[in-house]
C-alpha cells in the first residue's frame, strides 16, 4: 500500500504542493559526493534548504549525516558536485566565464554566512566564556573590544549565562559550555547555524537547557538551521522538515508529523522503531 511518490524538483527534493512561491534556497547541495578511500560517505546528494527553514537530520550512525554539516562548514572537502550558500557557490568560484575550485579567500567569504556548534563544544579552554565569544568578532569581523564585549555579553545573557561570563570552560557544566558555544557561534551573526549532535555529550539532565536555547534562537532569530540529532522528540516539535539519512543519501524526508507518524520506507520505520525502543 505505497503512497504515490511526491512530485520532485530536478534536484530530487520533494516539493511541497502547498508552497506557492519558490524562494532562492539558502543552502543547496547539488550532486555532492564524498569518499573516504573506497567508502562513499555521501552519495550524489541533492538537498535544498529554504531561508529560515529548520531541518533535522536523523539516521543511523555512519549514514553520513554529520558529514553533511562538516562539508557545509568546509571541515571536509567535497569530491563531487557543488554546494551553494545564499545564492553563491561555497565550493567553486567564477573565473573566465566558468566555475573553478574556490580559493581560500572565496571560501572564507562565503563561509562567513555559516556558524556551527559541535558535539564536544570545542570551546577555547584558555579563555573565559566572554573571551570565547569575543575572539572571532574582534579578529574576523574587526569589531572594537568594547563592541565585541557588548555583543558577547548580550548573547551570554540570552543563553542564561550572564553570571558566568568570567568563568573558564573547565568551571562550567557541559550544558553551560554548550550554551557558551552557541553564543560564540551567534556572535558572528551567521545566516545559517549548524548543530552537530549538540546534546549527545551531555548528561541527560542538562539536555533540556541546551534545547531550550536552540528553541529560543529558532524563534527569535531569522536563522536557517540544520541539526543532526538523536532527540526525536525535539526534532518532531522544532523542525519544519526531517531528513532521514541512510547510506550517504536521503532515504526519506518530509514534515516531522509525516515522517515520524507515517514513514513510507521500511528502512525509516526500522530506524524509528529501534530509536524508540532504545528510549
Amino acid at each position: 500500500m505505497n503512497a504515490p511518490p511526491a512530485p520532485t524538483l530536478a534536484s530530487g527534493v520533494p516539493t511541497d504542493p502547498h508552497d506557492e512561491k519558490k524562494t532562492e534556497p539558502m543552502i543547496r547541495f547539488q550532486g555532492v559526493g564524498k569518499r573516504y578511500g573506497d567508502v562513499k560517505v555521501i552519495d550524489a546528494l541533492d538537498l535544498e534548504v529554504a531561508p529560515n527553514e529548520k531541518v533535522a537530520i536523523i539516521g543511523p550512525s555512519g549514514s553520513g549525516k554529520t558529514t553533511v554539516l562538516r562539508l557545509l562548514m568546509t571541515l571536509e572537502s567535497i569530491d563531487d558536485g557543488a554546494i551553494w550558500v545564499d545564492g553563491e557557490s561555497l565550493t567553486h568560484m567564477p573565473r573566465d566565464g566558468g566555475l573553478v575550485r574556490a580559493d581560500k579567500q572565496h571560501v572564507r567569504r562565503v563561509r562567513s554566512n555559516i556558524g556551527m556548534v559541535f558535539q564536544h563544544f570545542n570551546l577555547f579552554p584558555h579563555m573565559t566564556a566572554l573571551q570565547n565569544c569575543m575572539e572571532a568578532p574582534i579578529n574576523v569581523l574587526g569589531l572594537t573590544k568594547p563592541d565585541a564585549e557588548q555583543r558577547a555579553g548580550e548573547l551570554l545573557k540570552m543563553v542564561g549565562l550572564e553570571s558566568k561570563v568570567g568563568n573558564y570552560p573547565r568551571q562550567l557544566s557541559g550544558g553551560q559550555q554548550q550554551r557558551v558555544a552557541i553564543a560564540r557561534a551567534l556572535a558572528m551573526r551567521p545566516k545559517v547555524m549548524l548543530f552537530d549532535e549538540v546534546t549527545s555529550a551531555l548528561d541527560p539532565e542538562l539536555v533540556g537547557e541546551v534545547l531550550d536555547v536552540i528553541r529560543r534562537i529558532g524563534t527569535e532569530h531569522n536563522l536557517t538551521m540544520l541539526m543532526v540529532t538523536h532527540q526525536m522528540g525535539f526534532a518532531k516539535e522544532f523542525a519544519d522538515r526531517v531528513c532521514f539519512f541512510c547510506g550517504g543519501k536521503i532515504a526519506e524526508q518530509g514534515r516531522p508529523e509525516k515522517l515520524f507518524g507515517a514513514p513510507e520506507q521500511e528502512r525509516t520505520r526500522r530506524f524509528l522503531r529501534a530509536v524508540l525502543e532504545a528510549g
Partner: protein
C-alpha cells in the same frame, strides 16, 4: 695541598667574567632555538607538501650531524663563501640552529597534542590562519611543553664548552688558558664544573616554577 685556595681566589674574577660569556651564548642560543623551532614546527604543518618535506629534511639533517661540526662549519667554512662571523656569533648561531631543530620536534608534539576540535572551532569561526596560530593554538600548546623545552635549555647550556673549539672566551676556554699558563688544572676545571652544576640546578628550579605558574593560571 691539592686544592690551592689562594690560587682559586685569584682566578675567580676571570672565570666569573668568562661565565658571563657562557650565559650570553646560552641565552641567545636558546632564544634563537625556541624561535626557530617554533617557525620550523609551524612550517612542518604547512598545507604545501613540498614545504613540509623540505623542512622535515632540514630538521633531520641538523639533528643527525654533530654540533661540533656545525660550529666548525659556520666558523671555518662560511668565510670561504665570503661570510665572516666572529666566534661568538658563529657559536650562538650553531647552538640556535642545532637546538632549534630539536625544539621544533617538541613544539610539533605540543601542536599535535591539541584536540582536532580546536582547529575546527577556528575554521567554524572563520578565523585566519595567523589568528588561529597566535591566539588559539600556540597559547595552548606551549604550557605542556615547557618542561621539555627546559631540558633543552640545560642541555644547550652544557654544550657551550664546545665553543672553546673556536676560541670563544667562555668558561672552558678561559679555564684551559689558565691551566696552560699556571700548569694547575684542578682549580679552574673544578670551578667550571661547579659553575655548570649550580647553574643547571638553578635553571631546573626556574623551569619547574614557570611550569607551576603556567598550570595554575
Amino acid at each position: 695541598m691539592l686544592f690551592d685556595l689562594h690560587y682559586t681566589a685569584t682566578i675567580l674574577p676571570l672565570l666569573a667574567q668568562a661565565s658571563l660569556v657562557t650565559l650570553k651564548a646560552t641565552l641567545l642560543g636558546f632564544l634563537l632555538a625556541t624561535t626557530l623551532g617554533l617557525a620550523l614546527a609551524i612550517l612542518r604543518m604547512a598545507p604545501s607538501r613540498w614545504l613540509r618535506w623540505s623542512v622535515t629534511g632540514l630538521v633531520e639533517f641538523i639533528r643527525s650531524t654533530p654540533l661540533l661540526i656545525q660550529i666548525f662549519f659556520l666558523y671555518f667554512v662560511l668565510p670561504e663563501a665570503g661570510i665572516n662571523l666572529d666566534a661568538l656569533t658563529a657559536g650562538v648561531l650553531a647552538l640556535g640552529l642545532h637546538y632549534g631543530a630539536y625544539c621544533s620536534e617538541v613544539y610539533r608534539a605540543g601542536f599535535e597534542g591539541l584536540p582536532k576540535g580546536q582547529w575546527e572551532a577556528c575554521t567554524a569561526l572563520n578565523m585566519s590562519p595567523l589568528a588561529t596560530w597566535k591566539n588559539i593554538i600556540i597559547p595552548q600548546a606551549i604550557p605542556p611543553i615547557v618542561p621539555a623545552l627546559g631540558n633543552y635549555l640545560v642541555a644547550l647550556f652544557k654544550e657551550t664548552p664546545l665553543l672553546s673549539a673556536i676560541a670563544v672566551l667562555e668558561l672552558m676556554q678561559t679555564a684551559k688558558i689558565l691551566g696552560s699558563e699556571s700548569f694547575r688544572y684542578v682549580e679552574p676545571i673544578t670551578l667550571v664544573g661547579l659553575f655548570f652544576l649550580v647553574f643547571s640546578l638553578v635553571s631546573a628550579f626556574l623551569i619547574r616554577w614557570v611550569e607551576r605558574y603556567l598550570n595554575h593560571r
